[in-house]
């Protein structure tokens, strides 16, 4: 996996939450992240808080601190995202621009033949 950019702190933190089976505390995430980047404890704390507010993690009080757990696995989240993307009336028509839509088998065969014949090899100016 590529290193995430500094702007993707929520993603970085969720990676850590998903990586652990027994939940994480802010301190544990902070300790892991501080080895790879310059980061303040309070930044991690507010990021965890944001993720909790958005429903990505749930938390249980453990002594003075919270222990955070993912509300869904990454696989469940992926499936939900794809469902939103592909379902009619989901995000598909309103806000997403898919690269391509549908094509009939006949059109597909014609275009494949055109590509084999070398169509489009003459560059347009």
């Amino acid at each position: 996996m590529q290193q995430r950019g500094f702007g993707d702190l929520e993603a970085t933190v969720m990676d850590r939450v998903w990586a652990r089976d027994d939940g994480v505390t802010v301190r544990e995430v902070f300790d892991e992240l501080t080895g790879t980047r310059q980061i303040a404890y309070t930044t991690v704390l507010s990021t965890m808080d944001n993720l909790h507010r958005k429903g990505w993690v749930r938390r249980d009080r453990e002594g003075k601190a919270y222990r955070y757990w993912p509300t869904m696995t990454r696989e469940e989240r992926s499936a939900n995202l794809m469902r939103a993307a592909f379902s009619a009336g989901g995000d598909s028509e309103a806000v997403l621009a898919f690269f391509v839509g549908q094509m009939t088998a006949e059109e597909s065969a014609q275009l494949k033949a055109a590509l084999r014949r070398g169509g489009g090899s003459g560059q347009r100016t």
């Binding site: 995430r4 993707d8 794809m82 621009a97 690269f99 009939t104 059109e107």
Partner: protein, 305 residues
């Protein structure tokens, strides 16, 4: 007052009569950017005509001169003697109230829809960035999915999503071409324009110019992004990418089907229009844009008393 009537007539004519010629002119996507400009000019023309008409009525009512509510129909142009109609202050006020009310309702509706679309879009982009695996390309994320697909979604920041199935289905140059297409959407801020057009089409669902315009511009913007990707990576990998990612359309049970938009895009990439056709098309589209802008100005000048 008179100019208000002309502006409304102009708006009505563009709204009901322009969609057919504009669709015909831009259907093949010979110069998609100019096509988008033609549609947007017509849409902006109608909205501006409406807004100016409301302002004209308001101004003439406030000034309140002896001719404030007189409508002079400029029929000399058609060889018919001039006619005047008195609306009366009461009628003009009622007209203004209706005009302002409609404007407010539509503006509010469009604004609310656009904000809603933006929020949904940002939420989807946000989720894609958290769930997806980042790639070497900035802002491109791979998400586990059985269906081969690629799309982009605007947010803070934007995201381009490619499913794992799509990564398997495409070779290197094809994937680059597909990503260039999606980047072109983001760089051209296509989503922002489309959200406004779709919100307008939803609010003004009875006006053909707005419903047809949103659909036509969406297709033309795909072609704009295709052209940009093809310029960098060549048309062949892009078309191969389309073939790999297009979902099969179930057979239509013996009915003759119109060409799908995806196939039309692929064909124009493989077999682009000749130089002379392109020039003719550019001139015709530019003339249409000029006529759309010029018509209300010319009529007002000719009929100015």
């Amino acid at each position: 007052m008179t100019s208000a009537v002309y502006l409304l007539l102009y708006g009505a004519m563009v709204t009901w009569l322009a969609p057919a010629p504009l669709s015909w002119l831009t259907r093949r996507g010979i110069s998609p950017r100019l096509g988008v400009a033609a549609w947007v000019t017509a849409l902006a023309g109608v909205l501006t005509a409406w807004a100016v008409a409301v302002v004209v009525v308001a101004v003439s009512l406030v000034r309140g001169g002896p001719n404030s509510s007189v409508v002079v129909l400029c029929l000399e142009l058609l060889g018919v003697p001039e006619r005047e109609a008195m609306l009366g202050a009461f009628g003009a006020t009622g007209l203004l109230a209706v005009g302002v009310l409609i404007s407010a309702v539509v503006t509010f509706g469009v604004g609310r829809t656009v904000l809603g679309l933006r929020a949904r879009s940002a939420e989807h982009a946000d989720a894609a960035r958290i769930i997806g695996t980042p790639t070497d390309a900035e802002g491109v994320f791979v998400v586990a999915g059985d269906r081969p697909a690629a799309y982009c979604v605007v947010g803070r920041p934007d995201a381009i999503v490619v499913t794992t199935a799509a990564v398997r289905a495409l070779d290197g140059p094809q994937l680059d071409a597909v990503l260039a297409h999606e980047s072109a959407h983001i760089a051209g801020r296509h989503h922002h324009l489309l959200m406004v057009l779709r919100a307008l089409a939803a609010s003004l669902a009875h006006l053909p110019l707005f419903t047809h315009g949103a659909v036509a511009v969406a297709e033309l913007l795909e072609m704009c992004a295709d052209d940009r990707a093809a310029r960098r990576h060549g048309p062949r990998p892009l078309v191969a990418g389309m073939l790999a990612l297009a979902s099969p359309l179930p057979p239509a049970g013996g009915l003759a089907m119109a060409a799908t938009a995806t196939a039309a895009r692929a064909r124009r990439l493989l077999d682009p229009a000749g130089r002379s056709t392109r020039w003719c098309h550019r001139v015709a589209t530019s003339a249409t844009i000029a006529a759309t802008i010029g018509a209300p100005v010319v009529v007002n000048v000719l009929c100015h008393h």
